[in-house]
Symmetry: C2
Subunit: 457 residues, 2 copies
């Protein structure tokens, strides 16, 4: 057996040439997006007004297993990919576990996360369509940063609606986006009709992702030459993110490593969906089995406590309905929730897989997440994003279980990004000011009350 | 000829096993450190009270060309090295230059810079000597962060004196250090005698590197089991940083690339000294010729406008005297100077090489540096540290000159780090609030007045 290095770097020639579309191998396909006015599946034409044409094709196609990655996207990928698959030798040693731990590290680019993988694809298709620019929303700021980098590369205009609380607490994220030429507006804003309405109904609100989405969609659909792009949840995003899993699998195969457990954090599902794609493929085809664990915050528990239902994707209800595990489009995590993973819903694809018992989900509380983050930073060097640290928490827990049982399991997790713009949250943690918060059933019920009547089966 | 990838990654097995000591090949050796009381060269014994024993040996040895890198340091290096040598294809294309541009990127680790290369070495020797901990100073915060990571790895205590203005303007840098378990004190502080004295003489001072050094040295020399460590200027640091140049040369040799111009930013000289080491070796031995350019801020121009003289390394004058290009130990760059590269002196080794005409130096103004930084970020993706952007500025200028002349020069520069903790400076730049500052001759004279009488030749 070959000696496994600390970091497995694939050669640039080994960069995947195609994205993998998980839906092609699913027997139970994710439910289609519905037009809330007619409760009928959204047509390509309806979606073309909101999204770029080619992206709509990708969004709706649940048959084609592989999509060629355009040459210009591959060129961009080469600036920061293939990303390393790291053998966590130091972590294993410190935990004194018989488990082997690997993590796919997506933080070695200026956006600081995996989001760039889809941002560059979406910017490419916008450019190809001859658009002037794109609009989007951002919460923690990773997606907005990634999109700014991608649009700068293709010379497109980029208008970002940033959840107001993040805009105020993360001025430096905003400056990174400005460095790449994006304009950043705190949401809700007075620039859009929906923003003005939300401000009127909820004066003093600090915003939410669902609300910023509504504004970005309105901006795109009311300006010539603009389209809306989204960093997670959608099928197209999972398609682009499959590059994470494809690289991971190639790297593991190269050394003959078979994972037992694959772990990823889950907000809207982009990283997890990408990481597990080729492994889930084998599972769906009965070629191999893996334990797959989604980790979400206890304060925003869409998988573990949400309902599997058609729901709005945004607060302003301007978007199509998606069938997913949801907490209701009005659900906003408690103010003491730090970091991302705050979306009320979850990718339809992952929701269907979870519903079909093909993956598990656990929720973790944030102080234990930051404990894991600090432990990891001191051991493996990298200071992780709070989002990624959800996966670290569960990877450590699984490795410690192996220590008890003596099992030599192979654990792979997604280290989606770095926490360099999350130091205010770390500071709270260091100062003992961080609190956990688990919504009560009554809290959740308020969100559920906003879920619309379901279409007839 | 082999196709050159975007990023040349060496294999972990190609990690250098030895550091290279540039002084061994210098005919004119750098002048020794002097004891300010006796004006005689500092002895090993005298230095042992301040620095770790093995580091003192490295500091004083100007004969041994190669030092073995201990296994445990190599293990740590493997967590983030070999670092990539990047072919700046996108930058070349955008500049439309016939020049080939490469940069050695040292920012892909949580400390965000090359400083970790020496931090881990110094922490290792401290651990080996059985010390409890180390003290140091930090300005922009890169060195303090690097040292915190290194001491966390070896379980050592770490006490950082952070220049007060940085401590206040960069709370997030401080939190990163705290994440790694370091204690961080704004300097000047009331914890040390020298700090109290400086506060008395200059009430309301926002501190300087020279002052923080004095405090850290006093802390180390007055506490059992502690030694002082420094992130730049010293010979030992240049020795450890030679890994940058050794990897760069191995990567270039692998593809048969011969650089014409090598460019690095210069504050105390750690990155530049490391990057050029193996190239300067060939130059000193008459085996090859390279144009080597040090880039410094116009607001802190030690090479280009300083004096080559014995001077104090710190404000409190508790350190030995070093012969170097200096602006005087009381020199403090104007308050509008952003980022690092603010030390009043320069590595003795580099000073001697510059004095002997073996390298050039230029100074650049900060708005043009930030223009280059933003241009680079939008083109190559990576958001650079202000320090590193000094090298980018001159690399771009040289590439544009090639465009005029049609020369196909090969340019290599050091991209020492990322600017994720420097967004306040970027914000100033975006808002048009950044000013340039060039000290007048009278400004400089005040600093020169503090240079002590020189020893007799």
């Amino acid at each position: 057996m070959k000696e496994i290095p600390y970091k497995i770097y694939l050669d640039e020639k080994e960069l995947p040439k195609q994205w993998y579309n998980l839906r092609a191998d699913m027997k139970n396909k994710p439910a289609p997006l519905l037009n809330p006015a007619t409760m009928k599946p959204m047509t390509e034409k309806e979606l073309d007004g909101v999204f770029c044409e080619e992206l709509v094709k990708q969004e709706l196609d649940d048959k084609t297993a592989y999509f060629d990655i355009p040459e210009q996207i591959i060129d961009f990928y080469k600036m920061y990919r293939p990303s390393p698959l790291v053998r966590a030798y130091c972590l294993e040693k410190k935990l004194d576990t018989p488990a082997e731990i690997y993590y796919k590290f997506e933080g070695n680019n200026t956006s600081g996360s995996h989001k760039l993988n889809s941002a560059i694809a979406q910017a490419y298709y916008a450019k190809k369509q001859g658009l002037k620019g794109v609009t989007t929303e951002t919460g923690a700021g990773q997606w907005g940063t990634a999109l700014s980098m991608a649009t700068a590369y293709f010379g497109l205009d980029c208008r970002v609606y940033m959840v107001k609380v993040s805009y105020e607490q993360k001025p430096f994220r905003r400056e990174v986006m400005r460095t790449y030429g994006a304009s950043v507006t705190p949401s809700p804003s007075t620039l859009t009709k929906v923003g003005r309405k939300i401000l009127e109904q909820h004066p003093g609100t600090t915003g939410s992702l669902g609300c910023a989405i509504s504004e970005a969609v309105e901006d795109a659909t009311t300006h010539e030459g603009y389209r809306y792009v989204l960093g997670s949840v959608l099928n197209q995003v999972l398609l682009h993110q499959s590059i994470i899993g494809l690289e991971t699998k190639t790297a593991l195969d190269k050394y003959g490593i078979k994972p037992d457990i694959i772990i990823g954090c889950a907000g809207g599902g982009s990283n997890l969906g990408g990481l597990i794609a080729p492994f889930m493929r084998e599972k769906l085809r009965g070629e191999a089995d893996y334990r797959i664990i989604a980790v979400e915050p206890a304060s925003c528990p869409s998988f573990t406590r949400g309902k599997f239902a058609y729901d709005f994707c945004d607060t302003g209800m301007v978007c199509p309905l998606a069938k997913m595990y949801t907490l209701g489009s009005n659900f906003i995590p408690s103010a003491n929730h730090a970091g991302g993973l705050r979306y009320h819903g979850m990718s339809s694809t992952l929701s269907q897989l979870y519903h079909d018992g093909l993956m598990e989900a656990v929720s973790v509380e944030q102080t234990s997440v930051f404990e894991a983050a600090e432990y990891f930073a001191r051991t493996e060097g990298i200071l992780p994003a709070p989002e990624s640290s959800h996966a670290i928490r569960v990877a450590i827990d699984q490795a410690l279980r192996c220590k008890e049982t003596g099992d030599k399991k192979v654990i792979v997790f997604g280290l989606t990004g770095t926490g360099y713009f999350d130091m205010a949250a770390y500071e709270k943690f260091h100062n003992g000011q961080m609190q956990d918060y688990i919504p009560t059933d009554a809290d959740l019920q308020k969100g559920f009350d906003g879920i619309p009547p379901q279409p007839e089966e």
